[in-house]
Amino acid sequence: MFTVKDYRDALAEGYLLASKCRRCGAVQLPPRPICPKCGSGDLEAFKAPKRGRVAAYTVIHVPPSRFKGEEPYAVAIVELLEGVRVSGRMLDVSEADLRVGLEVEADFIKLGEEPLLCFRPLKHP
């Protein structure tokens, strides 16, 4: 049974752990103990792709106290696969360039002790 720790351990190691339902094929990111689509507990782990597109975003100007001093900072919801999204911090992008549809790639950094999922705009060669 996948736990929160499995996902966080994967983040710390530099990849996005997802699960796929062996019964109905639905994908969960982070991995879950139960498939929310069909209720099956028969799920297999896989590494989610690191590239995706911004589905929604914001720039935080009034931060919670734990991130005080970092403002303004951008956060985005990124779609990695059809219908599979995740939240992450946006780096290396100006407020003007941030938009829905922007192509991004995941990066894995640490904020103090904690792994932090980040995204950066994809640089086309």
Binding site: R8, T58, V62, P64, S65, F67, V75, I77, L116
Partner: protein, 411 residues
């Protein structure tokens, strides 16, 4: 199978919601004030001994007042002990969820008369600390940890809504201006001032003048909180409490000739994390909770004369008026801009000023919505009265939509 017994509201009270005037009061002081007003509002009078149970919505007195177990505390302070007292928590939908439990408690046959209240004393903390506490209502591990705040989640919804439907920030401003106007008519509202008057007042202090509201709202006096949402897109941080008294239809007749009947109730949940929702521009739990309530009431969106919807942020009101079926998907912003949701419009929304102007002591908000409908449907809403309102709806959301409660009332 439907509810085994009908339920009605026979009394309602609330403190003014405010960020300053309650500085010297604790949560228990605020709740007692609201509860006493609710009792005093019962037409034929009511005694404490008539109230058989208490349900209290509260989000996090743990964080705000270092006090848990608050339902027992409120029962104690109001003099309701030894009656059963239970706290209900569903983030900003806490007292909405408590209202549904109040209905079930009576319909079950266990109690004939119960009090359902809500309370939140938030102004014990700084704005940053409050932001931190509110973020607990989202998914700590997957959202709050990467830096999402509560305004941030709704801001993200706004960007998706703008992108998909072409709605605009200017439409959101129409919501804010309308709600401030309604608040100016409501003696219980935290802000009782039109946006244009606030613009004039703040401008004078800084030697600035504004042609109209929009010039003010675009100015640095309306700073960005979480892009694209600015200060005037966000409800304030508030202290306050509200309470309603519910009774079985049969018991209700002893207390008043004009009870307000609960016609339908609904509640739904959804993924905690916004990113996990099927559609970022819709709160699915609103659709499902409304469906349940409409079905139980045998009514549809077109039958609703007045509604209090959960406008913690301006975009939330736009999305809610769509998801409740008042306007086609994507046209909520346009409807606000056209004045259709104003007191004079065809679908008056948040006549009390909404969370934006009335204030949002989170755990008290659902109960305060029920208070407003009690006043509106009894024709007691004074300057903010929606003429001939016979059917009212409340819509109370927990966090970014992982919990939604809807209740429909009728005269």
């Amino acid at each position: 199978m439907g509810l085994q017994r009908g339920v009605a509201i026979i009394g309602a009270g609330m403190t003014r919601f405010h960020h300053k005037i309650h500085a010297d009061k604790t949560g228990r002081d605020l709740f007692v004030e609201a509860a006493l007003e609710a009792m005093a509002s019962v037409d034929n009078g009511i005694e404490l001994g008539d109230i058989e149970a208490l349900f209290i919505g509260n989000f996090s007195s743990d964080s705000f007042e270092h006090q848990g177990h608050v339902a027992a505390l409120m029962a104690d302070w109001l003099g309701l002990t030894p009656r059963a007292a239970t706290r209900i928590e569903a983030a900003c939908g806490s007292s909405g969820a408590a209202l549904n439990i109040g209905v079930m408690a009576i319909a079950s046959g266990l109690y004939d008369v119960v009090m359902v209240g809500g309370v939140e004393k938030m102004r014990t903390l700084t704005t940053e600390e409050v932001t931190d506490v509110l973020a607990m209502a989202s998914d700590e591990v997957y959202e709050a940890a990467v830096g999402f705040t509560f305004p941030g989640l709704y801001a993200a919804m706004a960007t998706a809504h703008f992108h998909r439907y072409g709605s605009t920030w200017e439409q959101l401003c129409a919501v804010s201006i309308k709600n401030h106007h309604n608040g100016s008519l409501n003696p219980k509202a935290q802000f009782q001032e039109e946006v244009i008057d606030i613009a004039r007042r703040l401008g004078e202090r800084r030697g600035m003048t504004f042609r109209d509201e929009m010039e003010f709202l675009r100015s640095p006096l309306n700073p960005v909180v979480a892009y694209p949402l600015r200060l005037f897109d966000c409800c304030p941080i508030s202290d306050g409490a509200a309470a309603v008294i519910m009774a079985s239809e049969e018991a209700a007749r002893r207390f008043t000739d004009t009870p307000i009947y609960v016609r339908g109730i609904g509640q739904a949940s959804d993924a905690m994390a916004l990113h996990d929702r099927e559609d970022l521009t819709t709160i699915r739990a609103t659709r499902l909770a409304a469906q349940q309530a409409y079905r139980m009431a045998g009514l549809g969106p077109e039958d609703i004369d007045v509604a209090d919807v959960h406008d913690c942020f301006t975009i939330a009101e736009v999305v809610a008026t769509e998801d409740l079926g008042f306007f086609p998907k994507g046209e909520g912003g346009k409807a606000a801009e056209e004045g259709r949701t104003s007191l004079e419009g065809d679908k008056p929304i948040n006549p009390d000023g909404g969370l934006k102007a009335k204030g949002h002591p989170v755990g008290a908000t659902g109960a305060a919505m029920a208070y407003e409908m009690f006043k509106q449907l009894r024709g007691e809403a004074d300057k903010r009265q929606v003429p001939d309102a016979e059917v009212g709806l409340i819509h109370n959301v927990g966090a970014s939509g992982a919990t939604v409660v809807v209740q429909i009332y009728g005269r």
